[in-house]
Symmetry: C2
Subunit: 317 residues, 2 copies
């Protein structure tokens, strides 16, 4: 795509034009060569949106919560971008359509921009693209960007790690996975929501999560809390909004917001470097070199480790 | 770890010593510096094991099927290695323990080696490590290596892609995800098993999968079939074994086995190269260079894309 076209698209994004935003995200999603110029131009206008991650197991009601949060933010006069990421697994598919149906009441609002991104077909690179889509929404002037993704799979969790505040949504029945939570979720969650808490076992689930949380010390730091909600009836939404605000204030006061964003920026540059190194390393010459070595590899006369050694030797200056 | 120790460990692995195999896999799992020497030495003894991937949604009965297949292979006098990979998500955790319990009847058999690998804590690199563990089992003389992993998440699916034959296990209730399967599973599955097919809807599930399969043309090639099973009662296991054999024969006759393995070897070398490039690129000097640029990045005076450009310029020779 030629530069004047990209520049025109940037202008539209910066003006908050919905069609422009949609087109810009598609550009990024499809790895269109112009997307780099687009992101480069938009970058100076990013950093203003507050990014919130909503994650949890399938069926926990993440979409409903995301929807209700978006509505509440709209009532406060804030513009909202939503990036709903489909899980990698084809098994849990179908959620995409479900989300879309449930999202319709906020979708009609011009102050909300919703984008679904599926990981199918975009092998790898999903978390990179989701973050870049967030940059576009940020540059378009969205006050809040919500990432909604199922908490399964590495790249899906990577997306949530890109948020300023991360909310983990569970249901009362998730209680038995508390053991597992010890291992993985504590680092991600800024707080928990036990949704559908009109069901049996909600109190026990809250207690169980709190027990696990108490194993970790949070001296002087942020103490993740556990809220209850029945999102479908709007119950607990105000409390979630309030706790997100409290977490944001905490991050700002302690300068952790800036520190975290700097760390994420560093990670992102490392990702971009890795991607570029990969592309630039595999010249036609190295490709042929590897192809010539395959026969010996298959015959077990040479090992992959020695081949890598030979390929990489003197490659980096 | 010093070379004589590694050599002694290799000797044990090649002799099929269980403690040696367990220790070798731990070495790889913990990224012990000695693991590279170990894998390099063992490589020439790999390529004999037939690798089978068992995947599917949580609760489909993958562990039971894996267990029963292992038993049947043992009855045929074949040795079996099992690599059970825990999903990345902490939500679906607990399966690890469950698998272990269910596995006990084959675990006591000296001809079966079972290893659980959890992705928790090993951010990235899981599929690489699972493949390397399979190499160790292969070098230890296992005739069959079974990968069992939930079909959720990129790295988990990558593991299954490393198998010679991949079996996708579904349950009758998975029927509604057929739409989603169109997008992602068809490339992975060499055949399907509808497990727990004593439940209502089994016939419809089989029909639905077959309908989807028919959308794809398989002219002259392998035609994925759909089997039914009630693995907990041992029903359908013989048929699965027979179809795995048929698929293997097909791959051997058509020389696709060798072609596929060559392709996977190429992919693996690319993975190893990417890893090495990443490590070697980030010298102290480049690290400081990036750190110095962070202030301008945060202030939006420079973009990540330009920083990457500057970092990478002239880096590769």
């Amino acid at each position: 795509m030629v530069l004047p076209v990209i520049n025109e698209l940037c202008r539209k994004v910066l003006a908050g034009d919905r069609a422009g935003v949609a087109r810009a995200i598609s550009l990024v999603e499809n790895d269109n060569p112009g997307s780099l110029d687009l992101l480069r131009t938009l970058y100076q206008n990013t950093g203003k949106a507050y990014r919130i991650g909503i994650t949890g197991p399938p069926g926990a009601g993440k979409s409903t919560i995301t929807n209700k949060l978006a509505k509440r933010y709209r009532e406060e006069g804030r513009s909202v971008g939503i990036i709903a990421v489909d899980p990698t697994s084809p098994f849990t598919g179908g959620a995409l359509l479900g989300d879309r149906v449930r999202m319709t009441d906020v979708e009609l609002d011009q102050g909300v921009f919703i984008r679904s991104m599926a990981s199918r077909g975009s092998l790898g690179g999903l978390s990179k693209k989701a973050k870049e889509a967030a940059d576009i929404l940020d540059a378009a002037g969205m006050d809040v960007v919500l990432f909604e993704t199922v908490g399964v799979g590495q790249s899906e969790l990577d997306i949530v790690r890109a948020a300023d505040t991360t909310v983990v949504v569970l249901v009362p029945e998730s209680g038995d996975s508390i053991q597992a939570m010890k291992a993985g979720l504590m680092e991600i969650a800024d707080f928990f929501v036990v949704n559908k808490s009109d069901r049996a076992g909600a109190e026990q689930a809250v207690m169980a999560i709190k027990t696990v949380l108490n194993f970790k010390s949070h001296e002087g730091g942020w103490q993740p809390d556990v809220l209850q909600a029945v999102a479908s009836e709007g119950k607990g939404i105000a409390e979630i909004i309030a706790l997100i605000s409290a977490h944001r204030s905490y991050l700002e006061t302690t300068h952790l917001l800036e520190q975290n964003r700097t760390r994420r920026l560093t990670d992102r540059i490392r990702e971009l470097v890795a991607e570029r190194l990969h592309v630039e390393f595999w010249t036609d010459q190295r490709r042929s070199l590897l192809e010539g070595m395959l026969v010996n590899l298959i015959a077990r006369k040479e090992t992959p480790y020695d081949v890598v050694e030979r390929l990489i030797k003197n490659a980096l200056s």
